[in-house]
Subunit: 318 residues, 2 copies
């Protein structure tokens, strides 16, 4: 068995051949076209060429058994018409249908990219052999996916897993979703950078460029910058509240955290654990393990493949 | 098909014969023994006698096909050793095993009472035909149960559904669970009464009796008492935050609210809806319907029966 896995992100497109054990056999990446010329067909052509380059020359021995796709939301699910927030050229783009035209004899399955990351971590990463897991991506946004009782939970319209919009500070900052005090409004990388700038951090001197990044904030925290450290404490505290709420509600065993900000290591995970100790108190929930994601950048590709290769656990579209 | 349904609460024991359609054919109730003499065997004898009185004289025509039990938590699940917070005489009491000795040829299934309420509402109440539902009980405590993708979610140890311990006010009051700002710490009936007393409400004059009740608080709110009204606004606001977090995380279609405090009607549901409008903002989630539970006091019995009569949806113990 092998599957074509596709991971569509705002900055890069990634494709891979993944074998039946979840191993990435080979992969290719390219920047996502951006700017005013990146219309719907330009984007599709870039993806199509990347797929062709991956498969040309050395096709998988037994051919392909299916295509799994992870893509940024929102989207209609399971139809797979996508309108990724950070890919303005695709609005209601029928990504699943186009890929099904490209591979007319194969099943083509598509889900949210953060859901695919969670599937990858559950299938082959740090959530392996656990029945109940939340997978989180903490990066430009905060997303996630849920495996409960050993099955991926889709929700009424395929949108389960939005841990980034659990309320962690009811009178907190306005979120891009229009709500107040969502986890993402507090702890996503851009919101954390903004908070740090408002509180006296200035980032590295880099004239003419864009503002400082979450990566630079983490670097400064490692060097002991007090505001950068406070920013990571703030993020860890908020993530801890979100995980406590989710764990009490869902009786989780494991939470796997990936995404750029998780690279901060103990500077993020220690305040996170402290917040958990304050808010995660019911005996059944105290044992939840919060761990870094294990698969790194491959999690989304492996999870997209899992939609096809382990469909009994991860694909329940009707 | 018919099933013996049992609902064990801190103040009353209820038993019923429930037919295959979820209808309560006949029922009996008795006070739960309390006080220093209510040891484990006294409690069991009271339940055993109530069951005997229900079944004596007019047994269900085709005999019984199983026994379903709802009981206050905590408990081990699915073993069913129960330690209900408000029944001190049972600590680690093997309720499921004792009932299995009493009915040696029948399947005996036990779950948390709030989970049974949610199952009842999903199977035969206001969540009928919905795939994704949260059932909540707002009363002395705040509990609940979750049906996602048409299946009851148990969680790692059978404890999924604890909506009462979702954090709604991170710096809020200490909760009985040891955490801070849980929904239950803000919005359960006793905590709401305490808040109202602290803020100038005094309850009805009733010398020598216990303090005022949630029921009396709701009565005074109906009469326009400003502090009682503020208390219900406070509860509705907090419940709205909890529901917003759960809906974003789980992509719910319906939330059914039962329990004593839900009797307050618009005085509770209007501020709840206002809070939802502030915090429930993602497009997929805005359509969630928050409705009063439909089955009233029978929900727990009907749900306990559903564990047996509709096991493909509601019973997944391994």
């Amino acid at each position: 068995m092998s599957v074509l896995a596709v991971d569509v992100g705002g900055t890069k497109l990634a494709v891979a051949v993944v074998d039946g054990t979840g191993k990435v056999v080979r992969a290719a990446r390219a920047p996502t076209p951006s700017g005013p010329r990146a219309d719907a067909e330009t984007l599709w052509d870039a993806l199509d060429r990347l797929v062709t380059s991956l498969l040309t020359g050395s096709p998988p021995e037994d051919g392909l058994d299916g295509v799994g796709i992870g893509c940024g939301g929102p989207m209609t699910w399971p139809d797979g018409e996508v309108s990724p927030l950070n890919i303005p050229g695709w609005r209601g783009f029928p990504l699943r249908a186009r890929m099904a035209e490209r591979f007319p004899d194969l099943p083509v399955r598509l889900h949210n990219d953060a859901v695919c990351m969670a599937v990858g971590e559950h299938w082959r990463g740090s959530g392996r052999n656990r029945r109940d897991m939340l997978g989180m991506v903490v990066s430009t946004g905060i997303g996630g996916g849920l495996v409960l009782d050993g099955r991926l939970v889709d929700g009424a319209a395929g949108n389960a897993g939005h841990i980034g919009h659990v309320v962690v500070e009811p009178d907190g900052p306005l979120c891009s979703c229009g709500g107040y005090g969502c986890l993402e409004a507090v702890a996503s990388a851009p919101n954390l950078v903004r908070w740090a700038l408002d509180n006296g951090w200035s980032g590295p001197a880099r004239p003419g460029a864009d503002g400082p990044t979450g990566h630079e904030l983490v670097d400064d925290a490692r060097r002991g910058h007090p505001v950068a450290l406070r920013a990571l404490r703030r993020a860890g505290g908020a993530i801890g509240i979100g995980i406590a709420s989710a764990s009490h509600l869902l009786d989780l065993e494991t939470v796997a955290i990936g995404g750029g900000l998780s690279q901060a290591g103990p500077l993020l995970f220690e305040p996170l654990e402290e917040s958990l100790r304050r808010h995660l108190t019911l005996s059944f929930a105290r044992g939840v393990q919060v761990v870094p994601a294990a698969l790194g950048q491959d999690a989304g590709l492996v999870g997209a493949a899992g939609l096809v290769l382990a469909g009994e656990a991860y694909w329940h579209a009707q």
